[in-house]
């Protein structure tokens, strides 16, 4: 039970340091309106509005987000007409259906039709109208049939519906949705004869092709005739080579692949076909590039040719001899990868992956680039996939990829896959179980707006963890210490009137805040409510030196785990949002006399930092400082040089010529007394700069 003396001490402490409607008498609202005043009022309003918007965003983020792991359902699939005659011109059918989804909404559905000879056509249906959760939504689409599609009954072989986060439901032809559908009866010119390969020739250079000194451009001619729908569909031709490399242990399968970089039509024959022409013969020329360092040996060249309705014939494989005294058959290696441990559901959430690649090939070392669209992909437990291609950072060996997770994406862990290759096409595909470094995180996508924990017994300590992050996002308050609102009222929980505690985490704060490295940080909020009413500007009782009132202990998460056995140098500071100014300020250890910034401890799992004796509660993040507080020029000491930097830029705003970001210690884009006082307060005792 709180003593009267304790209550009085706490009340004075809380009331005089916590702003409230009573305390906040505006500088502006009660004075005559003039030009300058209007300007200031406007700026002040903007600042307040910005703060309100920020808080509103957090508020909305807390309550509006959910995960969607349920696919939509499809019903009432129909199409019309059920008979077409395309002997003179193409015609379409119209398909309609209804889909129902719970959260993210239906993205599309598709339906495959197959002819008696197994020509296949796919119709895509898209939503019309507005999506309403759990309400049927109309889908509509068309499917075009050409004069040469096979005549006869086309039946629906399967259908699939997909929502906006990638949940899908497959309907086989036996499903009642499809089994009751009549076939589409098609009358047409009916082309079921595949095209004919008249010639296939590697024109130049003549093999063997030596690429030891540089790349070779290889031209391949493919002549195709078709008496039905026509030959104007590009042939599919590729070159590949592979072998099992027993020079390494364990032996590795090595392969390289080339596809055309250009398609040209050299000459052709046509005949009239309605209002157009039909290509009865086409001579295609395909251009390949075989780069220096390519795998030597006999490459297999082959593929297929197609007519306009998908009838096809294989191109018999041939070989192409490549010689290269400097061949590179070794893929680059992944030397480091950084994947955030957490991501918070937003619209969209983003996960940025940074990877470092190196290539051991002696002829490309130091002068290589990853040339075949390296990418990272994440797979959820329920089969949702998200991916993004890597982009090189400058000319370095460092690559970065940012993967977006749309609203309602699945929660929990997303398994990463990293695929990359060198300029020659030697590729690697790494997963958590095959090649990614031990400890590579599978990021957790989780929701703000966590389930609150109810505190009913005021005599028991409070120990609340964020449901997804567990002990990495935690609040602990010892028994006998209470939470007080902005009015100084002590919040007393009971069974009938419990205290609700919610811990949420959000997106990362600015990477550098007030001179601290916050690149690995996350916003975390701790909110209290009782009777459905949020406790405004809550504080935890803390009286310097008191054996009872020591504030709270909070643990804030990091985005990516650190090596706790070899922690990075520096001091962990805690920043909290000042509810009146919306500025983030360094939290002091409320139990210390004189007051000093609270210093955090990196936890053994390397995933979070714990701070003791914290009195003010709002939104937090942590930062790692390697220089003393106030040392804005990072020379290891706080002195009049730091003060001079602030003085020189005093009164400026971001974008102005005299603005110096070093002086903007609170990162608000304005250099003012907050920044100056911050440096001043950290000057060594006795040092004066006036």
């Amino acid at each position: 039970m709180l003593s009267i003396r304790g209550a009085a001490l706490w009340a004075v402490f809380a009331a005089c340091t916590v702003p409230s409607p009573l305390c906040i008498a505006s500088d502006f609202e009660n004075v005559p309106v003039k030009r300058a005043k209007r300007m200031y009022s406007f700026l002040f309003a903007i600042r307040r509005l910005a703060g309100s918007v920020f808080l509103s965003l957090l508020c909305c983020a807390m309550h509006a987000q959910q995960f969607d792991i349920t696919p939509p359902t499809l019903s009432n699939l129909q199409f019309a007409p059920t008979a077409l005659d395309t002997t003179t011109a193409s015609m379409s059918i119209t398909l309609t259906a209804t889909a129902t989804d719970d959260l993210s909404g239906t993205a599309y559905a598709y339906v495959e039709f197959q002819s008696p000879g197994q020509q296949a056509l796919t119709a895509y249906l898209y939503p019309v109208g507005t999506f309403v959760p759990n309400q049927p939504q109309a889908l509509q689409g068309t499917l075009n049939f050409s004069p040469y599609n096979e005549a006869g009954n086309w039946t629906v072989t399967y259908a699939e519906v997909v929502d906006n986060v990638g949940n899908w439901k497959y309907y086989p032809s036996t499903d009642p949705l499809l089994s009751g559908l009549l076939p589409l009866n098609l009358t047409s010119l009916s082309d079921t004869v595949p095209p004919v390969l008249k010639s296939f020739e590697i024109v130049s250079p003549q093999p063997p092709i030596d690429v030891s000194a540089g790349a070779a451009t290889i031209l391949v001619n493919v002549e195709v005739t078709d008496s039905g729908s026509g030959a104007y569909s590009a042939p599919s031709v590729d070159m590949s080579n592979s072998f099992v490399d027993t020079s390494v242990s364990p032996a590795q399968y090595r392969s390289q692949y080339r596809s055309p970089v250009q398609y040209d039509v050299l000459n052709f024959d046509t005949v009239p076909s309605g209002s157009s022409v039909k290509y009865t013969r086409v001579m295609w020329q395909l251009t390949f590039v075989m780069p220096q360092y390519s795998m030597q040996g006999n490459w297999i060249v082959g593929g297929a040719i197609y007519d306009q309705v998908g009838n096809y014939a294989a191109i018999p494989s041939t070989t192409l001899a490549i010689t290269d005294s400097n061949q590179d058959v070794t893929p680059p290696t992944l030397t480091a990868i950084s994947i955030p441990y957490y991501a918070t559901q937003q619209d969209p959430a983003r996960v940025t992956v940074t990877a470092l690649f190196s290539d051991a090939h002696p002829y490309s070392a130091g002068n290589y680039s990853i040339g075949c669209s390296p990418y990272v992909e994440f797979a959820s437990q329920h089969g949702q996939y998200r991916s993004a291609g890597f982009s090189q950072i400058g000319d370095s060996q460092e690559w970065t990829a940012t993967v977006g997770f749309p609203q309602y994406s699945e929660g929990n862990s997303w398994m990463p896959t990293v695929a990359f290759c060198d300029n020659i096409g030697n590729g690697t595909y790494l997963t958590l179980s095959n090649g990614l470094p031990a400890g590579t995180p599978a990021p957790i996508l989780f929701l703000p707006g966590s389930t609150p924990v109810l505190i009913k017994d005021p005599t028991q300590p409070i120990d609340v963890e964020q449901p997804n992050l567990g002990a990495d996002a935690r609040l602990q308050i010892s028994a006998g210490t209470s939470i007080v609102d902005s009015q100084g009222n002590i919040i007393v929980p009971s069974v009938a009137d419990p205290l609700s505690v919610t811990i949420d985490t959000y997106s990362p704060p600015p990477a550098n805040y007030s001179g601290a490295n916050t690149a690995n940080s996350l916003y975390m909020s701790i909110d209290f409510s009782q009777n459905g009413t949020t406790v405004q500007a809550p504080k935890v009782q803390c009286v310097p030196g008191s054996s009872t009132y020591k504030g709270g202990t909070i643990t804030v998460p990091l985005r990516s785990p650190l090596n706790a056995l070899s922690p990075p140098p520096g001091t962990w500071n805690l920043y909290h949002q000042d509810v009146a100014s919306n500025q983030f300020v360094v939290d002091n250890d409320c139990w210390d006399v004189p007051a000093q910034p609270a210093v955090g401890t990196l936890n053994p799992d390397g995933m979070s930092v714990t701070f003791q004796h914290i009195a003010s509660f709002s939104v937090f993040f942590t930062g790692l400082r390697t220089t003393p507080l106030g040392d804005i020029n990072a020379d290891g000491k706080v002195d009049c040089t730091d003060v001079g930097i602030v003085k020189a830029a005093f009164g400026t705003k971001s974008g102005q010529a005299a603005f110096d970001s070093r002086a903007d210690v609170n990162g608000d884009g304005v250099i003012n007394i907050q920044d100056l006082a911050y440096v001043m307060q950290h000057l060594p005792a006795g040092l004066t700069c006036h």
């Binding site: 709180l2 009267i4 209550a7 009085a8 706490w10 009340a11 004075v12 809380a14 009331a15 005089c16 702003p19 409230s20 009573l22 305390c23 906040i24 008498a25 500088d27 502006f28 009660n30 004075v31 005559p32 003039k34 030009r35 300058a36 005043k37 200031y40 700026l43 007080v484 009015q487 100084g488 009222n489 002590i490 000042d578 009146a580 100014s581 300020v585 360094v586 002091n588 004189p594 007051a595 003060v643 003085k647 005093f650 009164g651 003012n672 007394i673 907050q674 100056l676 006082a677 001043m680 307060q681 950290h682 000057l683 060594p684 005792a685 006795g686 040092l687 004066t688 700069c689 006036h690």
Partner: protein, 187 residues
């Protein structure tokens, strides 16, 4: 019971919140007169640093200087930034003062700064305090109400009027002398 006690103490605390204001106000000055007004702080606790702007009608007043007041210096060495005078828009921007080093703030009432103006033309203008930041030794904001100053600029008496005034004063002086003499004659 505890809630009531805490709430009462809280109210007592906040009724005595700080006020930053311009004085004297209202202040009557003549055209052409140079005068000084103080920017004072009342009932502040643990003030470590402050910043404010002043806005005035540039058609009536012209600012010439702003100097540090004595109040913050009670807490130790200070670092004063006079700010920028803009007589076109009628502003004194970013005047700031801060204590230096890890010391406690100053509690009480006093003058933060003094601004010197010259009256340019007759009329009434306010000297408004804006963009105010008061910061305590824990880097927390201190909330304060503001009180603007009012300056009444009156016309300088014309030369003819001055002559008449001098004549009147001379007459009054002469009458007074006689009166005194008469009084003196009674003894």
């Amino acid at each position: 019971m505890m809630r009531v006690l805490a709430s009462c103490l809280f109210v007592v605390c906040c009724v005595q919140s700080a006020t930053i204001s311009v004085s004297p106000s209202p202040y009557n000055v003549e055209v052409g007169q140079s005068f000084t007004v103080d920017v004072g702080i009342d009932s502040v606790a643990d003030l470590y640093a402050c910043q404010f702007d002043l806005a005035f009608d540039p058609g009536l007043l012209s600012a010439s200087a702003i100097a540090e007041g004595a109040f913050l210096g009670l807490g130790g060495p200070t670092f004063f930034l006079a700010g920028t005078i803009d007589n076109v828009d009628g502003l004194i921007l970013s005047t700031a003062d801060s204590l230096e080093g890890p010391v406690s703030g100053v509690t009480g009432t006093g003058v933060l700064a003094s601004a010197t103006f010259t009256a340019l033309a007759p009329g009434t203008t306010s000297i408004e305090i804006a963009n105010t930041f008061l910061i305590d030794s824990q880097s927390d904001f201190i909330y304060a109400t503001t009180g603007d100053g009012t300056i009444n600029v009156v016309a300088t008496p014309e030369p003819v009027s001055v002559g008449l005034l001098l004549l009147a004063l001379a007459s009054l002086a002469a009458f007074g002398t006689v009166s005194s003499w008469t009084h003196g004659g009674q003894f």
